[in-house]
């Protein structure tokens, strides 16, 4: 096991409480300003959505042949962001990675909020949002049920399972920390934290069952996270459209999701660490580790990009070949190249140790990766649809301000939820960090 110390030297368990609880105190002016800004974003999104609901889906840019526009791009983007949380909290837990303890709470919160945003987009996309319950299996008047053979229906099950399980994981993971807050605060706040702590006392029996439950949650969440994005990729891969109909989509999407998720963790962690003075708990080493996962997944994603082109060429199928030629050099070619630079070229710099250990540079790289990964979904969805088999059915698509507005609204919603989370819940898993420090000091073997 790697015995490297991930925290600042001399950090004691006593300090962990105060470090984590400090951000929960009364917020400053900047906080309210940001809240107002995000509510503004949400208002813009809501107004755009309202216009779409009252006037119809025609206000969005989608039309034949591009019937899946940036709503679906956003859906895949947010689901992708959601994947790193479970990666960091569940998969790295199973691998006993010691560095996860400082960042897992933030990543889990990100997961829950990102899935919430993702879940909205299929509903917005279908237009008549008030019929959204049709997606769920129930017998209608003619005892007709949903089509369980449809990948879109698999998606309903996958995403709703994911939102439930990741929320449970998030809430259960916070039980001991809520008890810490219950004991530190007085009055109303203590009562509210006490409600979420559910009367946690930290007895050895409770810890025993808690650890087992946490392990089982991690064991369930790990295959889940891989299945969810595989199923999202099958929304595309199950069709016969050139550019979508591909067997490598599942691993390609899963690694892309983890790639974008780690980038989003860095993007959020960097300012958060500065604002809340968490430098002792979240050190450069954590960023380096995240960057290394980013680099690995970036290489997998790049390999997938190249494989797609190779397979198109090697298949000798003119539709495949034309589809991929068009992806790189067609109407949307510029987005493909921006995507390729952001996702494949730029992350290569992480190989350089000076860059890997420089938090500021990593922050900038992560922003480009976020943009690149959004563009990846845009490129896959829109270029494939816009150039079908039949040249007569070709057509271009551009998102309207309604679609951009709703996207902005979802960013606002995500960040607002995240800001509230940082004010009301511990941003670092207190008991896990304490356990880590305890074992580092006592030299206990906890494998």
């Amino acid at each position: 096991m790697n015995k490297e110390n991930y925290f600042a030297p001399m950090l004691t368990a006593d300090q962990v409480n105060s470090r984590v609880i400090e951000p929960l105190k009364k917020p400053g002016k900047a906080f309210y300003f940001m809240i107002a800004l995000f509510i503004g974003f949400i208002l813009i999104g809501t107004i755009c959505l309202g216009k779409q609901i009252f006037q119809g889906l025609g206000v969005a840019g989608m039309n034949n042949p591009v019937a899946w526009g940036i709503y679906l791009t956003n859906f895949v983007f947010w689901v992708g962001i959601a994947h790193s949380g479970t990666l960091i909290s569940a998969i790295l837990y199973l691998f006993r990675s010691r560095w996860r303890t400082s960042v897992n709470r933030i990543a889990e919160a990100m997961t829950v909020f990102a899935v919430m945003m993702a879940g909205l987009f299929p509903l917005i996309h279908v237009g008549r949002i008030w019929f959204a319950y049709w997606l769920f299996p129930y017998p209608n008047a003619r005892t007709l049920w949903v089509n369980f053979r449809s990948p879109l229906n698999w998606d309903v099950f996958a995403v709703s399972t994911y939102i439930t399980v990741s929320s449970l994981f998030f809430i259960v993971g916070m039980i001991p920390d809520m008890a810490v807050l219950r004991d530190r605060f007085k009055g109303m706040r203590s009562k509210i934290y006490g409600f979420f702590a559910m009367g946690w006392r930290g007895t050895h029996k409770q810890w025993h069952h808690y650890e087992t439950a946490y392990l089982l949650f991690a064991a369930l969440a790990t295959p889940l996270v891989i299945s969810v994005h595989s199923i999202v990729s099958w929304d595309f891969a199950m069709s016969i459209l050139p550019g979508w109909h591909s067997t490598i989509f599942a691993p390609y999407f899963v690694s892309g999701a983890i790639f974008s998720g780690c980038a989003m963790v860095i993007t959020i962690l960097y300012p958060l660490r500065k604002i809340f003075h968490l430098e002792d708990l979240v050190t450069e080493k954590h960023f380096t580790r995240l960057a290394q996962i980013m680099l690995l997944t970036s290489l997998i994603v790049t390999y997938s990009y190249l494989t797609e082109f190779f397979v198109a060429w090697y298949s000798n199928n003119i539709f495949e070949q034309e589809s991929f030629y068009n992806r790189a050099f067609g109407y949307y070619g510029v987005y493909f190249f921006i995507m390729f630079i952001c996702n494949s070229i730029l992350p290569l710099s992480i190989f350089v140790k000076k860059i890997r250990t420089n938090v500021k540079i990593l922050f900038f790289i992560s922003i480009f990766v976020n943009i690149g990964m959004w563009l990846e979904r845009f490129v896959i969805i829109i270029t494939s649809l816009s150039r079908d088999f039949d040249p007569y059915a070709w057509g271009n698509y551009a998102p309207t301000y309604i679609e951009w507005g709703i996207f902005l609204g979802s960013i606002g919603g995500f960040l607002l939820l995240f800001f509230f989370f940082t004010k009301f819940a511990p941003v670092v898993a207190i008991s896990e960090v304490k356990g880590q420090i305890h074992h580092d000091i006592q030299g206990g073997d906890h494998a």
Binding site: P137, T161, P176, G199, A213, F217
Partner: protein, 177 residues
């Protein structure tokens, strides 16, 4: 004769002393012993071994239920309207595996939560013997003892390995008539 039951609470800030005290208490086999800590402690697990947690059975049962529903629901519903489309069989197990897989995870996770709540006795209202320091950086134990045992335990707590207990409290326990 009244045989009243007392509870002795000891709070430690030093981990080594806490473990030493726990070892000596555990030697005389106290069943009614509760140990408190702000983080899971594997030393405590060694001193007070417990059977593997029953939470895993909840997970298992939940998973089985989810799997059954995941196959049962789609098979039942397609048989309600057995229309052949695309020349494919009506009961398409390959497609239903995905539904079954997702529901296995969903029910497994929900049952894990129920198992945790059941076994860890949560949620609970009564925190009367609890000490806020147990969630900070202190370790503690509450030992249930009869009238005749109190003196012995107190002595043991104080003497074990030159131990200084930060706080030793007698908590009035339930009185068994």
């Amino acid at each position: 004769m009244h045989n009243s039951t007392n509870r002795i609470k000891a709070v430690f800030s030093n981990y080594k002393k806490f473990i030493n005290a726990l070892k000596s208490i555990a030697k005389i086999q106290y069943q009614d012993l509760e140990v408190f800590s702000p983080m899971p402690l594997h030393d405590v697990e060694k001193i007070l071994p417990q059977r593997p947690s029953g939470v895993r059975w909840f997970t298992f049962v939940g998973g089985i239920i989810g799997l059954a529903i995941g196959f049962g629901l789609p098979i039942y519903t397609v048989l309600q309207w057995p229309l052949i489309t695309g020349g494919k069989p009506v009961v398409t197990i390959q497609a239903f595996i995905i539904i079954a897989f997702e529901l296995l995870i969903l029910f497994g996770a929900i049952f894990t939560l129920l198992g945790l709540l059941f076994h860890a006795r949560l949620p609970r209202q009564n925190l009367s013997n609890y000490d806020g320091r147990f969630s900070e950086n202190s370790f503690g134990m509450i030992i249930k003892a009869g009238d005749d045992e109190v003196a012995g335990i107190t002595e043991l707590l104080q003497e074990a390995d030159d131990l200084v207990v930060d706080k030793l409290e007698m908590l009035s326990g339930e009185v068994n008539l």
